[in-house]
């Protein structure tokens, strides 16, 4: 029966090696092709910088419109998602009766498993429905896309809020209660500040998911050349969609290089958000577990 040990050993060494090597090759390839693109004109092309940033002049050969679209999506999505997500998490962690916890927890779990393309399809069906009923001139747009993205990241926001509140030591809420704090006061002045880093780290993870998701926006209003986003009710560009589009439709080497540049920008964005969220999470853990041992 020694053979089982040997099989496991070989499988683990081979697969660890495979994963490391493929990620290294992938990153090396992306960096080699993408770094030459990271120059001043990657963002704005030949358009004067100030006018491009303000959207006064169209940018034809840069990725600024896509970046602006992604930033807009991030801001809108987070403004839709943060309050319901964190509020619902607080409810689940502090107030819910076991039965409510069961029911809402199930709903959140189920929502977390929905593929993003189905969420995009939901947005598409929703706008068709609205066209038939209240908004005959409605069309897919940035507002709709960020609403669907907010639904997509809501479960992870709720889960991270719940886990950072429930991870706090119990003496904290007991002490607050003993000092005569009401539940609401304890939450506002003790528990939320203590769990703040964890909640923020969850928000950053959700932002990373928003920035990278392509399937939702594909069905809810992203297009290849909308220019600088004109408003909440207009079509828009976005970085991940730009990458997807470039892979299939690039016309010349220059466009391809721009695609690689866009990938590096996207990776920087999501990698930065991931690092930030780690840092906050670690700080939270050190504060409540490390020092007290």
């Amino acid at each position: 029966m020694r053979c089982r040990e040997r099989v496991i050993l070989v499988v683990s060494l081979v697969s660890g090696f495979l994963v490391c090597v493929s990620v290294f090759i992938l990153m090396a390839f992306l960096l080699r092709r993408g770094l030459p693109a990271l120059r001043g004109d990657l963002l704005f092309g030949n358009t004067p910088v100030m006018e491009a940033i303000l959207g006064l002049k169209p940018v034809w050969d840069g990725i600024w419109p896509a970046m602006a679209g992604t930033l807009g999506l991030l801001i809108l999505t987070m403004s839709f998602a943060i309050i319901p997500g964190v509020g619902c998490g607080i409810f689940l962690a502090c107030y819910a009766t076991p039965r409510q916890k069961e029911g809402l927890g199930l709903a959140v779990d189920l929502l977390a498993g929905i593929p993003s393309i189905v969420m995009g399809l939901f947005g598409f069906i929703l706008i068709l429905f609205l066209r038939r009923t209240f908004l005959p001139r409605g069309t897919t747009c940035m507002l709709l896309a960020s609403f669907c993205l907010a639904l997509l990241v809501l479960p992870s926001l709720i889960a991270s809020t719940v886990s950072s509140l429930e991870g706090l030591p119990e003496e904290l809420s007991l002490t607050a209660e003993a000092l005569g704090f009401s539940q609401g006061q304890a939450l506002r002045h003790v528990l939320l500040p203590a769990a703040g880093n964890g909640i923020l780290s969850g928000i950053m993870l959700a932002m990373g998911r928003t920035a990278e998701d392509t399937a939702v926006i594909m069905l809810t209003g992203v297009v290849a050349n909308a220019g600088f986003p004109a408003g909440l009710l207009s079509k828009f560009e976005a970085l991940p969609f730009f990458v997807y589009y470039t892979a299939a439709q690039y016309a010349d080497q220059q466009e391809l290089t721009r695609g690689f540049g866009a990938i590096l920008v996207l990776l920087l964005l999501s990698g930065g958000l991931l690092l930030g969220s780690w840092y906050l999470q670690r700080k939270l853990e050190l504060r409540w577990r490390g020092e007290r041992g």
Binding site: I8, V19, I25, V118
Partner: protein, 282 residues
Amino acid sequence: MPPPRRSQLWIRSLALGVGGVLASVFAFIMFSALEALARGRGLSLFGNLWSPGAGQFGIMPMIAASLLLSLSALALGWTVSLGCCCALHLRTCPRLSKLLMGILRFMTAMPTVVYGFAAVFLLVPLIRSALGGSGFCWFTAGVVLALQGVPTMTLVMDGAMASLEKETGITSAALGFTPLQHLVWVVLPSMKPWLFSAAVLGFGRAMGDTLIPTMLAGNAPQFPASPLDSVRTLTAHISLVLSSDMGGGEHLSLMLSGGILLTISLLVSLTVRYISFRGRRR
């Protein structure tokens, strides 16, 4: 057990609102899928042929492709994940384990579109020259999908393995087990439920992924005869066939595909939940 507390009104209404929105998402998609079924009687939506010109809107090839692609990606990805998870806990070289963990964590943040893009320019030419065909095929998409699914599954397994190892580590060290023996004979047999739930989760992820199949699998609506054939998954079908033609067969097939994907994801979530409940009770 603290006494029941009354929550503030705004928090309660937020929770209620979130619950309502979630329910309406399910209702909307399921209702549209049923409507598609009802209205699409003459269009043979569950047929074997996709040929809009001839009025044939069968999505059976897409369902088959989705299942085949995600099961094959799962078989590869799950094995690699199990290996990675063991490699993380072997303790022969802690520094390498740490490196592997860092890479896996990094992979969770990697956008799917990046995998797709890199594979179009790296893997596809390689497969085209080595195995023939166009390179955009079931095999390519399966490999990349497997790689993309590895971090999720490994992290699930790793969580279970870490806690089991802690529980039994001292005992088996006292009995003279080496770390490898401990892993193989004590930890692995007792983490079967988690291995299964990681597999279910990975299957759900692979089923629901859109970008990799769309960019790499070639998108021909057909039953594949070999791994080098081009296939079109349900998700790719939705992203490709976006018609605003309200009553058309294409539109109905889209709704039906969405309903099928939603049903599968519900089954996956319920299974994972059930397994973890049973695990906790034990």
